[in-house]
Each structure stands twice: as C-alpha cells, then as structure tokens.
C-alpha cells in the first residue's frame, strides 16, 4: 500500500507532462547542436548562446509587450553571436572549441553585465512587464484521458520543439540543402569537389543552430516563470551537446536523448519531495550522460568486433 501509493504519487501523468516541458529547452539547443555539427562545426558554446537567448527574450518581451517578440529578439541576438562565432572560425581560422568556450564566457559575462546596466538588478530580474507564453489547450486532444493531460495544456514552444525535430529531419534528409549540409560535415573534401560551397554551408549550419539555441533560451525565461536569472541555463547547453554526441547527430535519436534528460530532470525534481537532496538531483543528468556515452561506446565497439568476426 505504502509503496504503491508513493509510486503513484511519483510516476503519474503530471510527471510525463513536466518531462515534456523540461525536455523542451534542451531539445532546442540539441537541434542547434545538430545543425552546427552536421555542417562540420563543433559548437561547445550552446550554453552561452542559450543564456543570451534567455536574456534577450526578456528584453524583447518587455520592450514590445509580447512573448513572441521576445522569442524573435532572442533568436536574432543568438544569430548575430553565432555569426561572429562562424566568422572568426571560418575567416580567421580560430579554433572552434576555444571560440565555443568563449561564447560561454561571453554569454555569461554579457548577460550579467547587461542585467545590471539595463534593469538595475543583480542576480535575477522578474517583473509584471514581462509577457510570457500562454498555455495552449488543444481542443479535441484535451478531452482524451491520460494523453490529453500530457499533450494538451503545454506551451506553444513545446509543440514547436517537437515539430522542429520533424522539420529538421525532413530538411536534413529530404532536401538538397540538407544533403549538402550533411556532406560538408561528413567529408568536406568530397563536398567541395562536387562544387558545394563549404563556407556557405558552414555559416548556414552555425547560424540556424544559433537560432535554435535562442528559442531554447527564450523558453527558459518566458515560459513558466517569466524571469531571467544569472546562469539560469544551468548546464543545459552542455547536456544538449551530450545529446548530439549520443544521438550521433540523427534528429530522432538525439530527441530521445533529450527526452531522457527531460525525464531525469522531471523525475529528480519529484524525488526531491521524497527527501532526495537537491544537489544529488542536479547531478543526475550529468552522471546519466557519462553512463550513456560509456554504454553506447562499449556497445559500438562490441558491434564492430561482431562485424569483424563475421567477416572472418
């Protein structure tokens, strides 16, 4: 009785609903990472881009009085920053990993500085003038049992995130642009030999990637809480990087990884109510990443061995 009762309090419909919500920001950044990685540019600055997105979403929302305008400003800010990233890397040969780390340092520094200068506060900013996103009730789905509770009543950006996975998949695997982009990441020499504009593709990948990070940041600050706080991305950009890594840049597999992180997050928050220390909770997704990466690597090697053995 006691255990069953606890379990049903722990694992229920609301858990899955909040999993989707927790997955969303990571999923956006993951898509951003996919675009960049497919174009052959490793972007370890997803975290920094996201925090910039979260901040400028607030700026846009306060200035224009609309959450969607906030999203747009966030995306714009991240695209500009990604352009700088791409330019120093592609035009002046800067190391992509170092510039990515620079994005993280810059993103954190710039947002905490601007927080002080623009809103005159330190730590966090929340105000009634911030217009956040509204929850959406999907007419028919809402009345379905269980599924309705999970799928309906989420933020528009949640639906958009999962829709973006489908769009990304379609773009990468069903359009010529997607094919060009992937070929640049896979084999730049071959791509260049058949006349694909390497530079253009890399810019495209990095900039589109930045746009997605902006959306992820906007979700953090304009959905649910309507506030910006220093370092509020809390490593989600790095988790996204891990998801891209684990999912081998394949949109669906990466989405599964992001969902695992979202679920871990949501579950961990609930476990806190059962007395699990918050520090342990915060640690879990990172441990999960290391474990998942290890297991998939071991599995990959085992598969390779099996192939070799089969060949004789």
């Amino acid at each position: 009785m006691g255990i069953a009762d606890s379990l049903s309090r722990l694992i229920n419909v609301a858990l899955f609903a909040s999993s989707l919500r927790m997955t969303t920001p990571v999923l956006y950044a993951t898509l951003g990472g996919i675009f960049s990685a497919e174009a052959g540019v490793l972007n370890v600055g997803l975290e920094g881009l996201m925090i910039v997105g979260a901040f400028f979403a607030i700026v846009g929302s306060v200035t224009f009085g609309s959450a969607w305008a906030g999203l747009l400003v966030a995306v714009l800010a991240c695209v500009i920053l990604s352009f700088l990233f791409a330019a120093v890397h592609l035009e002046w040969g800067a190391d992509e990993m170092i510039v990515g780390l620079a994005l993280n340092v810059l993103g954190y520094g710039l947002t905490t500085y601007l927080l002080l200068v623009m809103f005159n506060v330190a730590g966090y900013y929340s105000s009634d003038t911030i217009v956040g996103f509204e929850l959406i009730r999907i007419p028919l789905v809402h009345d379905l049992p269980l599924v309705g509770e999970i799928l309906s009543g989420q933020f528009a950006l949640v639906y958009l995130a999962f829709l973006s996975v489908a769009v990304t998949y379609f773009f990468l695997y069903r359009t010529p642009w997607g094919f060009w982009l992937r070929s640049v990441g896979e084999s730049p020499e071959a791509a260049e030999a058949v006349g694909i504009n390497l530079r253009l593709m890399k810019y495209t990948g990095v900039l589109v990637g930045g746009a997605f990070c902006g959306a992820g940041g906007a979700f953090l600050s304009l959905a649910h809480l309507n506030l910006f706080s220093e370092g509020m991305t809390a490593g989600r950009g790095f988790l996204a990087l891990a998801a891209v890594n684990f999912g081998e840049r394949k949109p669906l597999k990466c989405m599964v990884a992001a969902l695992i992180f979202g679920f871990t997050d949501a579950l961990a928050i609930r476990l806190q109510r059962f007395g699990l220390p918050s520090q342990v909770v915060l640690m879990l997704p990172y441990i999960a990443t290391v474990v998942i990466l290890t297991l998939s690597a071991i599995q990959g090697i085992a598969a390779q061995r099996a192939r070799l053995a089969a060949k004789g």
Binding site: V44, V88, A102, Y286, L293
Partner: protein
C-alpha cells in the same frame, strides 16, 4: 672538430634569428587583440554613460597601482598559474581537458578535508600531505573522461565537461550533508587546522607560500616537458598523434599521462586557494579559474614559463575590476565580457595574418 662546433653555433644563431621575429609577431598580435578587447569594453562602458578611461585607470590602479595591489594580484595569479599549467599539460598532449574546473573542485575539497580532518601533524608535513592528496584527487577526477577515450574511443570533450557539473554539485552535497559545518553560514566545511594553513609572505596581504610553489611548479613543468625524454614524447604525441603512432610512441599512454598530470595540477590549484586563501572549502569558490587556465595556456602557446605573465595579466584583470567597480560603479562582470572577447580572438589569425603580410621578413 673545430668546424663541427662552428656549424652547431651557426645553426643555433639561425634558430634564434628564426624564432625571435615569430615571438615578436605573436606579441604584437596579442597586444592588438588586447587593445581590441579593451576597446569593445570601452564601448560597453561608454554606452552605459560612464567614462571608460577613468574606469580603466581604476582597473589598472587596482591591479598594479600599489605594493599591496601587486601582492594581491600575485596572490590571485597563484590558482591561475596552476590552472594554466593544467591546461598546458592537456593541450600539449592534445587532450582536450575541459574538466579543469571540476578537477579544481576535487582538489580543493580533498585539501580542506585533509586540512581539518588530520590533527597534530607538523605544519610542513600537513601541507605537503594536503597538496599531494589534492593532486591525486584532481587526477582521479580526470580519470574517467580519459579512460573513456583511450579504452573506448569516446571523445573526451563532453565527458570532461560533465565532470565539472558533477564535481560542483557533489561537493555542494558533501558540505550540505556529511560535512555540514556549524562554524560557517556559507555552505562550507569546517575550517582547516593552523598546521595546514599556507604561511603568508606579506603583512596585510593574502599572498602566501602557494605562489612560490606555483612558480617552482612552472619550472618543474618546463623542465619535464622540454628537458626529459618523457616530456618530449608527450609533446610529440600532442603535435602529431598519427606520426607519433607510426614512430612507435605510446600514444594512448601519453594521452593518459597528459590528462592525469593536467588533473593533478588543477587539484593543486584548487588546494592552493583553500589552504592559502579561504581556509575551508566553500561551494562555488572558483570563479571559473579552470576556464581562465585554458585561455592562459593558449596565450602562453603551451609554454609553461609564458604561463606566468599570462596569468598575471588575468589576475590583474580580476583584481583591478574590484577597484573599478567601487571607484566608478562599472560592474566587475564587464571583465568577463573582456575575457570573452580575448578568448574569441586568441586563436584567430585576425591580426597575425595582417602582420605577417606587413612584415613578411618576420613571418
């Protein structure tokens, strides 16, 4: 015999002649990057309605303006030198250790634990033990990411990043529960015993023996990397892993060693702050020193000796920003932005390409 010596001397001079302009070019490159970063910072300051020149004057004064300021900057540079050496070890063996920050935490916590946990040990022994165990802790914290690479071919970037967060949250857990202390309102451990405290070098300044230790380690690392066979192997593997493998050098072992030494340096860096400055472990004690270390090693072009000026520069920025904030109300976080710009440009050929065109005889 005589001729032989002549040719040797001859090659040496040409080598110096060849090296020197490259160094000058590199320095000019850095000066330009620095000026650009400061100019961008100045624009940001000006856009908030303050005077950039007074702000920068206060920054410089706070960093190097008095004997005390210099001592404090030297003190601040201690952990940065050690984090820089950690990055030098990693990058010169082509291990991308992005987990230096976490390794600092591991070393710091263990140093504190040894510091308050062990009683009645003579001071030099107590300090030595704390440093040795913190080096072990830092190395241990880097072990999983590098084993993932050497045994299963997993790129070390993501795992080493993950271990930063694991370290930060895990130590936060430790001080919240098993090591909870009633002696501090900050989440931290008990204070370390007097025997574990690093002796101060100057009255009124936190400058301590840790700084001297960092300097000694700089030369030890230089000697190791550039004057021993082991170090030479590590650098060869770092420069061209494929060629090294072809030449029969132990590539995996070198990567493992580079990472472990990197982690050990980071661990010592964390310990230096605990034993020399804070006197106990405190959560969030590191203000991104691990990341600073990466840029410092880049600025130093992986040369341990050059780590010293690079770290002093970064320490000056950090300390000067405090006075800048109190004197001109320009927030210290401006420095993070400047640091971000420097990091953005440090590996770019931005000015270098222009300079080599302008001075082809030097390039």
């Amino acid at each position: 015999m005589n001729r032989h010596t002549d040719t040797e001397v001859g090659t040496e001079t040409t080598q110096v002649q060849r090296m020197l302009p490259a160094i000058v070019l590199q320095l000019m490159n850095y000066v330009l990057i620095l000026l650009l970063a400061l100019a961008i910072g100045a624009l940001i300051i000006a856009s908030s309605g303050k005077d950039p020149l007074t702000a920068y004057a206060a920054l410089f004064h706070g960093a190097f303006g008095s004997r005390m300021a210099v001592a404090n900057t030297l003190d601040r540079s201690t952990v940065m030198i050690l984090a820089g050496l950690a990055a030098v070890f990693a990058f010169s063996t082509s291990v991308r250790n992005l987990g230096i920050e976490g390794q600092l935490y591991a070393g710091a916590f263990v140093a504190a634990w040894v510091g308050f946990g062990i009683q009645a040990l003579p001071a030099p022994l107590h300090i030595a033990l704390a440093f040795v165990l913190s080096a072990v802790a830092g190395a241990a914290w880097s072990l999983v990411p590098i084993l993932l690479r050497t045994r299963w071919g997993v790129d070390e970037i993501v795992p080493s990043l993950m271990f930063n967060y694991i370290a930060i949250h895990f130590t936060a857990y430790l001080v919240a529960f098993p090591f909870k202390s009633d002696t501090t309102i900050l989440p931290g451990t008990d204070p370390i015993n007097a025997t574990a405290k690093l002796p101060r070098l100057m009255r009124g300044s936190p400058l301590n023996v840790g700084f001297a230790l960092a300097l000694v380690l700089v030369f030890v690392v230089y000697w190791f990397l550039f004057r021993t066979k082991q170090g030479y192997e590590l650098r060869m593997v770092g420069m061209n892993p494929r060629f090294a493998a072809y030449a029969g050098l132990p590539v995996k072992r070198s990567a493992l060693m580079g990472m472990l030494l990197s982690g050990a340096m980071a661990g010592i860096g964390g310990a230096s702050l605990i034993l020399g400055f804070f006197g106990r472990f405190i959560t969030q004690f590191s203000q991104g020193y691990g990341w600073d270390g990466i840029v410092i090693s880049l600025l130093a072009k992986n040369n341990p000796i050059a780590v010293i000026p690079a770290a002093l520069f970064y320490a000056g920025l950090a300390n000067g920003s405090l006075e800048m904030q109190s004197a001109t109300q320009v927030p210290i976080t401006l420095v993070s932005t400047i640091k971000g710009v420097i990091m953005f440009l440090v590996t770019a050929q931005f000015f270098l390409r222009y300079l080599s065109k302008r001075y082809p005889q030097w390039a």
